[in-house]
């Protein structure tokens, strides 16, 4: 398999609810991919399956040819929707933690980025605001030289300045030939940085394409197309 991420008939049910229903996708290297869809369309479920945090109930998924597990976790850098930082830690503790467990973690890069936000080694996570913690988490995730970055709602609920910072950090730090998949329902804000988009609806792929292709063919922004496709 040449593709970095490939899934066939991938399904996940919670009881009688089908969160993902026979999803087929192929994503290559070196792309920035937007995983778009309204709330509860299966975006988070998909990302969690890629991270081995959920086990699919049907179909299969391969990342760099392997099932989600230890080998894929070494090359996948994940930003969940919520804060997973241990509050008692100092910045230097969490950096040491990442350094310990991820061989692709670039400590100096992380410290540089933190420094430019005015965050020092001795700072405690407990004293930081929610927004700062989110940025710290993003810095940790982007300081890995991973092959696949999975970012779940990285710009959900942040102000425009923070959003610019986040997008800027993603564009300037993902490693060469790596692929970035980011899920969001705020399309207008990010469509300029995307290569491809995947629309999910009720657990199924509703549409895929490149941003420029969509703009060329429909004469509209991806955002307005999205609004049409998901019109209530």
């Amino acid at each position: 398999m040449n593709n970095l991420l490939e899934c066939r008939n991938l399904s996940k049910s919670f009881g009688s609810v089908k969160a993902l229903n026979k999803v087929n996708l192929s994503i290559g290297q070196g792309r920035i991919v937007g995983l778009l869809g309204p709330n509860a369309s299966g975006k988070s479920t998909f990302i969690k399956i890629c991270n081995d945090l959920l086990t699919p109930t049907g179909g299969e998924i391969r990342i760099a040819g392997k099932k989600p597990g230890i080998e894929t976790k070494k090359i996948v850098s994940y930003l969940p929707e919520r804060s997973y930082l241990n509050d008692w830690m100092k910045v230097s503790d969490i950096i040491a933690f990442f350094q310990d467990f991820y061989s692709d973690f670039n400590r100096d890069k992380a410290y540089d980025m933190l420094k430019s936000l005015g965050i020092g080694k001795k700072d405690r996570l407990k004293t930081m605001s929610k927004g700062t913690k989110e940025k710290v988490q993003l810095i940790l995730v982007m300081s890995r030289e991973a092959q696949l970055y999975l970012l779940d709602e990285p710009i959900g609920g942040v102000d425009p300045a923070a959003r610019d910072y986040i997008l800027d950090t993603i564009i300037s730090n993902y490693s060469e030939n790596a692929t970035v998949i980011l899920s969001t329902h705020l399309i207008a804000d990010i469509e300029k940085i995307l290569d491809d988009v995947i629309f999910l609806r009720e657990g199924q792929v509703a549409l895929t394409g490149t941003v420029d292709q969509i703009r060329e063919e429909s004469g509209k922004s991806v955002d307005s197309l999205f609004r049409e496709v998901f019109k209530c």
């Binding site: 997008l167 800027d168 564009i171 300029k192 420029d212 703009r215 004469g219 307005s224």
Partner: protein
């Protein structure tokens, strides 16, 4: 100059236009070294792949050239830059004319308005 990208046209074509504009207006002077793809992408808040494609296109057109060791440079061919400049000028004029004809002006009227406005400007 800020990067102005409209949301209803392909980003790639808009980046080409914006880069041409920057070369013609001397922001990237002839023979100068271009910023890296990542820096340009970050500046314009666009995908680096798209920026790369736009730059490749300008290389094909001859406005940029890549030296294997030291990066990407603006052409020193002033003629080529002037041609591009004329091309951009014609596009601007076409947009202007389209707008005027939408307002219902005849070509002769447009010309007289234009000459009058230019006179006022130069005072």
């Amino acid at each position: 100059m800020s990067w102005e990208l409209k949301s209803d046209r392909p980003i790639y074509t808009q980046l080409i236009e914006q880069l041409e504009l920057r070369i013609c207006s001397g922001i990237y002077p002839p023979g100068s070294r271009m910023p890296s793809v990542r820096d340009l992408a970050r500046e314009a808040s666009v995908n680096p792949n798209t920026m790369q494609r736009a730059l490749t296109r300008l290389e094909e057109d001859g406005l940029l050239h890549t030296s294997r060791t030291s990066g990407r440079f603006v052409t020193e061919d002033i003629n080529l830059i002037n041609q591009t400049r004329n091309k951009l000028a014609q596009e601007q004029v076409r947009i202007f004319l389209k707008g005027m004809s939408d307002l219902g002006f005849e070509n002769s009227e447009i010309l007289s308005i234009l000459t009058d406005t230019v006179k006022e400007w130069s005072i």
